[in-house]
């Protein structure tokens, strides 16, 4: 079996990359009216979906 620390490392690596990659790849506003509007609505939609 694997040591607990190996598991924890894997969990951390995946979680960190999922969060950080978009922030490192998209450093300027995305020049599409659709993406801008889409990403504007995402927070409210996601929070509303998670609240209910």
């Amino acid at each position: 079996m694997h040591s607990k620390w190996t598991y924890i490392l894997v969990m951390f690596a995946v979680t960190y990359l999922v969060r950080v990659l978009p922030l490192t790849i998209f450093r300027k506003p995305i020049n599409s009216w659709f993406m801008q509007s889409f990403l504007y609505y995402v927070p409210y939609v996601t929070l509303a979906l998670m609240t209910f």
Binding site: T6, Y7, M11, F26, R27, Y44, T46
Partner: protein
């Protein structure tokens, strides 16, 4: 003559730097203030997570570190469960990826609120802490995302998530279940506190939120969707609903975010601009 203008120039420069550090300290304090309710909620919820961690065989220290690094409730829950089942590393990686996928959308949304001139290293630092709640308070703050504000919120909330996990491992049975669930309701209260003001300002957002409630409820009922994890449901519904909203009601985001005049400091008095309906 030169001396006098030299002195004035220095005075001007140092007063500008003072202004920046005053603004930084103010942003940091605001971050801490806004992070307190998050920290309290995290402490309560991580307690229950600690119980799961203990069942998986993690020590208090291991649980504390795992929580400090991952800061993910559903993701850690799944991970710990898999650890307890001695699952393959690839399985842990895949499960963690799928469950946490919504953070990718949140980070993507944050990219449109970050100042392109912000030093790159900040992205690597606060990026790891894009949780539902920390994401929410940064979205609620007008103007560009302020890393210092974010750090303030992180410093008050994330350690509590970590410590709560450790305590849950050590003494999980102590806190009555009702207290735990009462405190974790605080986190949902915060989501509502972010959604409602926007819903008041914009009929589009208000209608959208009702649709989300209906969709969320509907997704629970539809049989063929039962097997899909809630993380996947959230991300699918988010993409579908937000896309429809973007197509039907496009937004002038510079006005909406208040980033049009990025040089003016974003303090609490600043109102968010109206959303322009199509």
């Amino acid at each position: 003559m030169e001396n006098r203008s030299g002195k004035t120039k220095d005075a001007y420069l140092s007063s500008r730097e003072d202004l920046r550090s005053v603004e930084r300290r103010k942003a940091f304090r605001q971050g801490i203030r806004d992070g307190v309710p998050i920290g309290l909620g995290y402490f309560a919820v991580s307690f229950s997570l600690g119980i799961i961690a203990r069942n998986a065989g993690l020590s208090a220290f291991q649980g504390a570190i795992a929580s400090l690094l991952c800061i993910a409730s559903a993701g850690e829950y799944a991970g710990f469960t898999l650890i307890g089942a001695s699952a393959a590393l690839a399985e842990v990686a895949l499960m963690t990826l799928i469950i946490n996928l919504r953070y990718m959308l949140m980070s993507l949304a944050l990219t449109q609120r970050t100042d392109p001139k912000m030093p790159f290293f900040h992205r690597l630092l606060f990026g790891g802490a894009v949780t539902d709640e920390l994401f929410a308070i940064n979205i609620a703050r007008p103007g560009y995302l302020d890393p210092v504000y974010f750090y303030g919120a992180i410093l008050i909330s994330v350690p509590l998530w970590s410590v709560g996990t450790a305590l849950g491992i050590v003494a999980g049975d102590i806190l009555p279940a009702r207290v735990v669930s009462a405190l974790s309701v605080a986190l949902y209260g915060m989501f509502i506190a972010i959604i409602v003001p926007q819903a008041r300002k914009s009929k589009v957002i208000a209608g959208l939120i009702l649709i989300c409630f209906a969709a969320s409820w509907g997704a629970e009922k539809l049989a063929f969707l039962q097997n899909i994890s809630s993380g996947t449901k959230t991300i699918i519904l988010t993409i579908v609903i937000a896309s429809a909203a973007a197509l039907l009601f496009p937004v002038d985001t510079k006005k909406a975010y208040g980033t049009a005049d990025a040089d003016t400091s974003a303090d609490e008095g600043t109102e968010q601009k109206e959303v322009r309906d199509a």
